[in-house]
């Protein structure tokens, strides 16, 4: 038994990794991913996924080993890789012997062919050997110094990323005449060419290595600059960022701009829920309700189809936002005393009520029922119409900038602190003089207002609104964005929206497994990085310069009491 201790973690990680790879195979993800080449003729996404899984678990095995001798570290991760290879082999053997397909739809011959590297059973030793190689790679990379390991990881991620996103990058490059030749060099008909993959790998490695060697010096250099210099550098950075954001849709083209606008709408929603959930800790699962209200108010006020008002988008927008805020406060009143799960359930109900109301025949003359409302006019400014995704982009960008600006102001204010205090401990917050009613209602109202803004832009973007686009999945998406991005973090919302909304839009293969990926992302985040992808930084604000005596404090307090 004591000898088993030496292998224990390798075996455990191996079994886990087997479970995951077999699961991915049987769910059909491996097969779905096999269509996409990363490096043409060399590596496709299915192998990249399986390999990543094995290497990751092999790394975990190496890290957990009780022995620190390099030999045992490698043996553990090797064990992990071999077990996984063996189990996948077992899957093929079982599949050949028994017809698994009757129960498991995805256990197809195509899958076995992929797992057998295109040959099926004859390649069985190859599967075992490649599993072992992945394990070996994990073990060795664990033993390497951190700087080299990081270089390896970053470079590999860059290559895989470029390969995965080829459909977006290639047309962008090809559209520019100057870059067309370059594009042909980089991409073959499917995937990166071998020479460009190698070049990209080396480039990424070079930059990462340079940063690990010189990064400290660069940072120190920045710190050494006088206050004005630092400010100048910072403002230059912001100016560059603004320039990039302004020209982005022209560079990206139609399809990518469309994806960016969807991400942008979710960023708006996320920033709103960030106030309600991230700051004030109020678990609102009916958040889509305010999105729906924003969209429908815009539709009713602008659409000539209903023929009530036919206002312009800009005239309708304030009404949409104000109605959203009002609805947020109104919903807030009955749930003031509720906390946690109870609040989530109650608000979930509210979201459904709104959806069912707009769907109902009863309100059809006013809200269009199941057919929704169409012919919503596009927004325009001085003759410039926000029609194409590339143009709507600017509308959404403006909305995001405004909302980020408001979020920042609120976060650093007396109100932002009150929200966070309520999140941390409601009773104590009240005992510190915070009026719970006002504070919570302001959070609900602000969040709902942001959401309604998102809804209004959504309405003019699609020029029509339907009840079925206001479903509970939107609320759940937004909650996931906040949790994955980092509770209460503004950059976290943006990163979360890109990761959970942008990437699935880009990767068609994901579409079918979207919920699976969400679930997986949530579980992995909770285990590995519970604070989120980009957690909120602690604001440094204590005065560090010396305050002469203790006495002034005493006099201030006594004078004011």
């Amino acid at each position: 038994m004591s000898r088993f201790k030496l292998w224990e973690h390798g075996v455990k990680a191996g079994l886990l990794s087997s479970l995951m790879t077999v699961l991915l195979s049987l769910m059909g993800i491996v097969e779905a991913f096999s269509q996409r080449q990363i490096v043409s003729g060399l590596l496709s996404m299915d192998y990249a996924l399986l390999g990543t899984m094995v290497v990751f678990m092999g790394y975990v095995a190496a890290k957990r080993t009780s022995r620190t001798e390099p030999m045992w570290v490698v043996i553990n991760s090797l064990t992990c890789g071999m077990i996984t290879g063996g189990m996948l082999l077992l899957l093929i053997l079982t599949g050949e012997a028994v017809n698994l397909r009757a129960v498991l739809v995805n256990a197809s011959p195509a899958l076995y062919k992929i797992l057998g590297f295109g040959h099926g059973l004859e390649a069985s030793p190859l599967l075992f050997v490649s599993g072992a190689l992945c394990g070996l790679f994990a073990g060795i990379s664990y033993l390497l110094p951190w700087a080299i390991r990081r270089t390896l990881i970053v470079s590999l991620v860059c290559v895989v990323g470029a390969g995965v996103l080829q459909d977006m990058i290639r047309p962008t490059l090809a559209a520019r005449e100057v870059l067309a030749g370059f594009s042909e060099w980089v991409f073959s008909s499917n995937g990166l060419t071998e020479q460009s993959a190698a070049a990209l790998f080396l480039l990424a490695a070079g930059i990462t290595l340079f940063w690990s060697l010189k990064g400290k010096a660069v940072q120190a250099g920045f710190k050494a600059l006088p206050g004005k210099g630092q400010k100048a550098v910072r403002w230059t950075g912001i100016a560059v960022l603004i320039m990039i954001l302004l020209v982005l849709p022209q560079v990206l083209g139609l399809f990518l701009s469309e994806v960016v606008t969807i991400v942008g709408l979710y960023v708006l929603l996320g920033l709103g829920l960030n106030i309600v959930l991230g700051y004030a800790g109020l678990f609102d699962l009916g958040y889509v309700a305010f999105f729906a209200i924003g969209a429908y108010v815009t539709a009713v006020l602008t659409s000539p189809e209903l023929g009530f008002f036919s206002l312009s988008f800009w005239a309708a927008l304030p009404f949409a936002v104000v109605t959203g805020i009002f609805a947020g406060v109104l919903l807030g009143i009955p749930v003031l005393k509720m906390r946690g799960d109870y609040l989530a359930i109650a608000t979930l109900g509210f979201g459904e009520i709104i959806r069912i109301l707009v769907l109902s025949d009863w309100l059809r003359p006013w809200l269009g029922g199941a057919q929704g409302i169409g012919k919503i006019p596009k927004a325009s400014v001085a003759g410039f119409e926000f029609g194409m995704p590339q143009e709507i982009y600017y509308l959404i960008l403006a909305g995001c900038v405004l909302v980020i600006f408001f979020s920042l102001r609120l976060r650093d204010s007396r109100l932002g602190r009150a929200w966070k205090a309520v999140r941390e401990d409601e009773d104590v917050a009240q005992a510190m003089g915070i009026n719970l009613v006002a504070t919570k209602l302001l959070a609900f109202g602000t969040g709902a207002g942001f959401s309604a803004l998102s809804g209004a832009i959504f309405a003019t973007k699609l020029t029509s609104v339907y009840p079925h686009s206001m479903n509970v999945m939107i609320s759940i998406n937004v909650v996931c964005i906040i949790i994955v991005g980092g509770m209460g973090s503004i950059p976290g919302v943006i990163v979360g929206a890109i990761a959970l909304v942008g990437l699935p839009e880009l990767l068609r293969e994901f579409a079918e497994y979207r919920l699976f990926v969400y679930g997986l992302a949530l579980v992995v985040m909770m285990l590995v990085k519970p604070e989120g992808l980009w957690p909120e930084a602690v604001r440094r604000r204590e005065f560090h310069e010396e305050i002469e005596e203790v006495e002034p404090a005493a006099s201030t307090v006594s004078a004011s009491s």
């Binding site: 401990d425 005992a431 602690v538 305050i547 404090a553």
Partner: protein, 263 residues
């Protein structure tokens, strides 16, 4: 002059009478201790004063103002602040932010002032940060302002909680076992600090405490509760000699001297 007056205050939980027709007068700028066995109703009384529990009968006055029916946030504005038996800081706010939350009710910026970042809002925030810094320094936490409250060691958390309470600029401070879990030298520091609050800042202190060394050492008046009823009141010396108190604490026939070491 009495700053806090309780008249026939009664709080029941179902059939249990936690506070039973309690009459209490806390004189201004004194340290008034409440002692009694576990379950005597001390913390319940604190919760009644700060508005977390509603009294079934009786009334509590602050400077002649009735506190009946007021919410906890209204009561803190009138000048009563408290700390908790088991420390209740805002764990993932920084020490600085914890104190700033205490200042909340003295800041006036409203929603639109915040969004517009008016100069009055900015000035107010600066003043608040300055005052919070001073308060941190006052409780000897200078330099710790940027750490999360949950990451501070136990003793510092206790002091931070007091700083947060002081930030509300209280006239009356309710301390619920401030020396719980402290060693003798920390306890001594806390005693000196409490005296300092009374003498330098002129804050009246109502104290729940189990360590008799603290109670007898710094109190001006001691009230003894048992089963929600007041069984004795007086100066520390009177309480030490009171046979009813000794009986409630130690049972019949115990020597008065043992009171001094009971904790």
């Amino acid at each position: 002059m009495a700053i806090l007056t309780a008249r026939k205050s009664t709080k029941r939980f179902g059939g249990l009478v936690a506070v039973d027709e309690l009459d209490l007068e806390v004189k201004e700028k004194t340290i008034h201790s409440i002692i009694g066995p576990n379950g005597a109703g001390k913390t319940t009384f604190f919760n009644c004063v700060t508005g977390f529990y509603r009294l079934e009968e009786g009334e509590i006055f602050l400077n002649g103002h009735s506190l009946l029916g007021l919410m906890p946030d209204q009561i803190v504005r009138l000048g009563i602040a408290r700390t908790y038996q088991n420390i209740r800081l805002f764990p993932i706010l920084t020490a600085m932010e914890n104190v700033l939350v205490g200042l909340h009710c003295h800041l006036k910026a409203n929603y639109f002032g915040i969004l517009a970042n008016l100069s009055s809002t900015r000035k107010e925030e600066e003043m608040a940060a300055e005052e919070a810094s001073r308060l941190l320094k006052f409780v000897n936490l200078a330099g710790k302002g940027d750490s999360f409250a949950k990451n501070l060691p136990y003793g510092e958390q206790r002091r931070l909680e007091i700083a947060r309470a002081l930030a509300t600029r209280p006239k009356l401070l309710l301390l619920d076992e401030p020396t719980a879990g402290m060693n003798p030298s920390e306890t001594q520091t806390m005693m000196d600090f409490t005296l300092h609050l009374r003498d330098e800042l002129g804050i009246t202190i109502l104290l729940i405490e189990h360590q008799m060394r603290v109670v007898m050492g710094i109190s001006d008046t001691v009230t003894v509760l048992d089963y929600g009823k007041k069984i004795a009141e007086g100066t520390p010396d009177e309480i030490k000699r009171n046979p009813i108190v000794i009986e409630a604490y130690l049972g019949k026939g115990s020597a008065a001297e043992t009171m001094g070491v009971a904790a």
